[in-house]
Each structure stands twice: as C-alpha cells, then as structure tokens.
C-alpha cells in the first residue's frame, strides 16, 4: 500500500507498511537524516517534526496517519538555515553533541508559531518535552527568548 504525503513542500510517497513509524520513512526512505532516532517511545523528542504545522513525535506517528498531510522536518524549516530559532541557536551557542538539537529546534519553532511571546515558564514547560543529554537547557531557554525577541 502506498502512502502519499508532502514533506518540506514536496509531494512524496512510500510503500512502507502503514504502521511503520514516520521517523524511519523520513530517515531511511527519504534520507532526511536530520530527524533523529532517540528512544522510539515518544519520550525524548529527538524525532520531532511538524505535521500540518504542529509538533509531533515522528517515532509515534504511523506513516498511514500522515496520508494527505504536510510534514516539515529540520531540513525544511528554512531554505537557508536562517529561521530565527536557528539563528538564535547559533548566537547562544546551544549545541554540544548536537544530536537532539533538530528536535529541540522543531519544538521551539512550534512554540513560537503558536505563542510568539512566551513567558520563561512557558518556554521551560514546552521545551521539557525534549531531552538534551549534554544539558544545554539553560542555553535553549536563552535562545528561545532571543528568537522571540528578534523574530
């Protein structure tokens, strides 16, 4: 069975079984490897993408669920890595190992899409969905605040 959907603005389709996690279709089918595998259980947020403009765990989304929908991955967040969140992430020198940061950035962009001027508490709560084992949390909060300020 073929599932058709849109990724980063481009129509695509896959013949992966309908219950396949979207994560693996994105990473190994479409070779968009910026979206990461971290826990496979919706606990860490490394796999975060936007589905129809809302953040979602791609490891917890069966590919059949995105039929006809629009998926945005880190590669599609901006054409030139110039999204305010990406700029803020560099300005605050957030990443360390970097593995979780695609998911962190997708979560942060989702927050600012829906709440352009979040409070510090709202930022911390929203970003607590994502784990960063390098512990870049303090800089993540600073970067989201900066992105909100400079967007």
């Amino acid at each position: 069975m073929v599932t058709s959907f849109v990724v980063n603005g481009a129509p695509t389709s896959t013949d992966a079984p309908p219950d396949t996690p979207l994560l693996w279709v994105i990473r190994e089918g479409l070779k968009l490897t910026g979206t990461k595998f971290g826990c496979g259980a919706g606990l860490c947020g490394a796999c975060m993408v936007h589905i129809d403009g809302k953040r979602s765990f791609s490891c917890q989304t069966q590919v059949s669920e995105v039929a006809g929908k629009s998926v945005t991955t880190i590669e599609g967040l901006s054409p030139d890595s110039n999204h305010p969140v990406q700029r803020a992430w560099l300005a605050e020198r957030v990443p360390q190992c970097g593995y979780c940061q695609s998911g962190q950035i997708m979560s942060a962009a989702d927050l600012l899409n829906h709440n352009p001027k979040p409070s510090r508490e709202q930022i911390i709560e929203h970003m607590s969905t994502n784990i960063c084992r390098c512990g870049t949390y303090q800089r993540i909060v600073r970067a989201v605040e900066r992105a909100a300020r400079e967007a």
């Binding site: 396949t20 490897t33 496979g40 259980a41 860490c44 360390q96 949390y137």
Partner: protein
Amino acid sequence: MNIHERKIPMPVSRRQVMIGAAGLSFAITLGSRVDAAEAASEGAGQALTPWVSVAPDGTITIMSAATEMGQGSMTSLPLIIAEELDADWGKVKIVPAPVNEKIYGNPGFGGMMYTAGSNAVRSYYDNLRLFGAQARRVLLDNAAKKFGVSVDELTTEPSVVVHSNSGRKLTYGEIATFAEIPAQAPEIKQESLKKPANFRLITKDVMRTELPHKVNGSAQYSIDVQMPGMLYGAVLRAPVEGAAPEKFGEAQVTAIKGVVKVVKLPYGLGVVAETPWAAFAARRLIESTVVWNRDGKAWGFDSDQGLQNFATTARDPNAKATDWFKLGDVRAELPKAASTFEAEYLCDYAYHAQMEPLNAVASVAESGDSAEVWCGTQSQTMAVEATANALGLDRSKVKLHDTLLGGGFGRRGPRDMDFLIDAVLLSKAVAKPVKSMWTREDDVHNGRFRPLSAHYLRAGFDASGKLMAWQHRLVGDRVTPFADPVRYEKAGKKDFILMLGADAKGYDVPHQLVEQVYEDTGIRTAPLRGIGFTANKFATETFMDEIAYKRGVDPMRYRLDLLAKTPRAHAVLERVAHMADWGRSRSGHGLGTAYIDYSDTQVAAVVEISIDRSSGKIKLHNVWCAIDCGVAVQPDNVIAQTESSIVYGIGLALTERVSIKDGAVEQSNFYDYIVSRNRDVPPMFVEVIQTNNKPTGVGQMATPLITPAVSNAVKALTGVRLRHAPFIEERVKKALA
C-alpha cells in the same frame, strides 16, 4: 570488489571539509617524513601533511586528532595550532586526522588515538603549539629567502608575512606556491612561543566549527550514513555477559517480510533486513521467543543485595584490600588519634544515556579480506583494532570513517567496541554494507555502567581536634578490567577508572590511605562521565562536611582552612562562596558545597535546594560554580561544558539509577531511567578563573560536585544526612521520616 575504491557521499561529517587541492606540505612535525607520507596517502589522496597544509588560495587545512562528541575539541585543538601559526582563522579548514598513532596519538593515553578523560587540550597543548610555531617558521624562512632579507626582520599578521622595513608582504597562500620544505623541522625555543597576552585565538571565543551543521540537520553521525545497497541490522544481546541463545523462533523470524538473514553471534542473535522496520520487527520477535543459557557470571546477581554485601565488606577491617593511594602512614597514625569519626556511603549503577543509540555501519568485502567502517567512536585506534580482531585481519585492512558522536560520556570507548562489532559481524555474514542500530532498550539493557560501590571512611583527629588521618576503604564493581583489559594490564592491574578521586587531594591531611576491595559481579561496566570521581567524591566531600559538623565549624570555613596551602583550590572555593553569598541564610532552602581537584582542574560548587517532605522530592533552585582550568582555550565553551557537567551531575544525584535483578538490567527507556529535563535544571552561574597555568580538562569536572553538594545542602536544611546516591524520592522520604 575493492571497497576502498567505492565513493561514498559523505554530505556533512567530520570529513566534510577535506580539501583535495595540492598545497604546501609541512612535513616537519615530530614524525618522520615517512610518517607524513603515510598520513598524506590516508588523507584525501593528495599531498596532505601530518598537521597543516596551506593551499595557494590561502586555505589552511589543520588535522583534528580528537573525535567530537560535543566537547569542542574539534575546534580547540586546531585552534592551538592556528594560534602559533598566526593563521587567519577564517581561512582554516578542519579535517579529522587519519588513524596514524605515530603522528596523531594522544600523549595522555600512551599514544593511542582516544578522546576521553577531558584531556584532549591538556595532552596535546604543548605539541600543537610547537607544530604551529614550526609551520610559521617555515613560512618565514621562505619569505626571507624570497625577499633577500634576514628572517629577524619579518613578522606575521594573520596569514601574512610582513617585512615592515620595505612594506612588502606575502600571504601564506602566496608562499605556498614556491615554498621549499626543510628536511628537518626548525627548532623552536619555548620562550619564542606566544605570550598569553598576545593570543588572538586562545582565550578568545570562536564559533565551534561544526556548530552551523547542528542547527539544520546536516551534521552527520554514524546513524545517518547511507550507502548504496545498504541493509539494516539489529542485534539482541544476552541479558547477562557470557550467556548465549539456546533456542528461538527462527522460522517465524525468517518469515518476516524483508528479513534477509538471521545471524547467530557468540553473544546473541542478529538479524539483517532490507528495512529498519523489518529488522526491528525481527528483533522484537527474537526477544519474545528466545531462551538464553545460564552461562555467564552475573546470573542471580541482585544489585540491592549486592550493595548491602559491599557495605558489609567495606566496614570489615579484615576484608582483603589492596592499597590504592598512600600519603604518610595512616596505619601507624590512626590508632594514635585522640578521637575518630567514621561514616559510610553507597552508590548505585548509572547509565550513560547518550542521545544517539549505539550504532555503526560496516562494509566487509565479500572476500573477507578488508573492511570499511563508519562509527562514532571515542577511540579511532580501538575501532580499527577491534574490527581487525573480529575479522582476523591486519589493521591496515580496516578503513575507519569516524563521524560525529551523538554523545559519548565514556560509553563509546570500550576496548571491544561492542556496538561496532555488531555491524562488522552482520556485514560479514551477508557480504553487504550493514547499518546496525540498537534500540533505546538495547542501549539500556546492554549498558555498561558506572559501578556499584560502597565506601567506608574513617577520620582521626589529634588532641587539638586537627584532622590528621583519613582512611577510605572502597568496595566497588571492577571497571577497567572489563572496559579496557589492555590498559588495565599496562597500568599494573590498577582499576583507575573505579578508584580515581577516592583520596582527599588538595586538602591538608597529612596521612591518607585509600584501599580497594576488588569485586567482580559480572555486570558490564564502563567509564562514565566523571569516572570514579562521581561516587568517590560523593563519599569524600560528604565526609568532609560531616567532619566539619563534628568539629562544629561551618563546612565552607572548614574546607577553606584545609585548603590554605593550595592557593588555586582556595581561590575557587572562596570565589564560589562569594558568588552564592554563602553566609546568607534562605528560609526553607539549604545550601551545600563541594570542592574537587579533578586532574589538576580546580572546581567548586554551591547548590541551593528545597525539599517537598511529602514526596521526598529535592528541588534545585540555584547552582554556582567556579572553575580554574589554567588557560581557558575557549572560555565560553568552558562555561558550556561546565553547565553540561552540572546537569549531568544533577541526574546522577537525584534520579539516575540502574538496578539489576537475576543479572539483568531492570530499566528500559526514559520512562524508568530518569534523566534531567529542562524543568529540572535551575539557573546555573559559572565563573571561569583565568590563570596562566597549563590548560587542564573541563569536560566532566563539575559532574561529581553535585551529589555531595546536594547531600550537604539537605543536611544543612533538615539535619538529615543522605548516604545512598542517587537521592530518589522514596529514599529521601524515608530518611526524613
């Protein structure tokens, strides 16, 4: 098929900046020219040089000998060369060094290529400055010849040689077009190296070289590697080291659509499939049908009971112990003490939880006589050797592509490279490239942990109450013999990963004795960020606090007095006391402190906590930390690494715990192995005390501060002493009841 000829697209990785243009080769490092030629042939197939090359367009390519796991060495090591070379940093390209220990080996690890122990900058610093200065001198000599002037009349600006008398200039790129390379490296005197006041790069923050790729998804980790015709592997390891499968539902597994082959491994069962989802489905089916034999030591082991047994042994004066560290003569002095004080501390197993589940890609030639591997490893040397050993090949037949690491924390440097060998054996079985991935559950169940340990400490005071003697008997699960038997033998059978940090270094305690009682439960262990310091400083820095209370002295004051003869130590502690406004009491909150000399880096912290007595939950409100690592090569990164170390330490202090039942790990994923999230982390205030001492490490130094500082803060707030880490809620609640 000659796999070395296959061109693999490597979009953005540690190799993404490799240049192929012929340039000026500085074959002038410590290695011979033969070594340089070897290195060059392993590079981009062009005449690259051991450390530095300059292309006619001015591009300066510098080799990075350390692997990058988030700690920043990929930037800071080349930057040290660039400083003495007087390179224009904007023209520098960084390339991962090929596996050639003679040139690129880490002096801190006997010449192995191994990134660990927070020692990359420390160990390479002097050599890299020298190499940079030698390269600059070659440029100057060539320019002097061209201008017909004495080299003494020349100076450099970034990437430009200047003859100020005549106003003539030559860029490094221009010199590269005509330069001659001397057979012998020019001699550089130590005093001709730059003075710290003249540094342009060292101590000045630059953008880490790979950071832009980490905000757009283009940074490449081994799990991202794609190859034509690549298959997917999954492996289910036995729950206990040494066990093997007896039977499993092989026919059902083989029947799964997309499964190519089931591979029986010495330590478990592997499967190769056309897709990752087929591989994981097969793995799940194996898990639900497999029966393991009972070979292996750890069967029957229970960590709760095991820890109680360790504690009993620790307080037994007749337990068979070996001396780890001796200062003065505790055995003679402690019996003469006017008074003594003793205490015990316990510490659980802990898991690395690097965000990238372990994985690797291997392509073993059909003939079996060569292999190419992609791997995020802390040791290029170990990765090549383990692959060669697994295939019975000479190491020259193994080509390693070391990628970025999605976290390391000590897990990616075991001598046997367990996660890499999965891919190697699966690829060999199907004669195709295989990406082998562990699930998070595999990563936890196959974890190699910070060991279980029990600590008995005893202090002796003279008649005036002065602390004279200090004894620490440590009973802990062995680490070095399991994690790295080669280094264990070389170290004279010293389990340094377990034992480091067990003394009272820095403090003026004239008689010290640290003893180890060796235990081997069969549980898999590894160095984990902070190694022995995480458990051992919990014991010693909590004990120091208890001693202060015993003497009726403020714990900060007591430490400062004992550090009076070690000025750098005294300075960091005094600084952090000031930062935290130590003397000011906070209603409902408690302050605790800890100090560590961690491999010569001086670091101290104060934490502010409160406790919800009904749940036993400890909340951190603030953490202050002062660090003196000598020359801070990249100050903002020192701060970032220290923040990172603190967060890691918070997890180890409060929630991170692995338990073992019948030899198997009980936890599985982030729902039962609880790491710190954004909401768990308080404001952190880090100050770097810049000194001109030789740089020392920063990657993990603050991690071991947090557990004792929290224990000490809980004591200050409640009067109750927590002695068993981590301080999970039920333990705290019980202790406060």
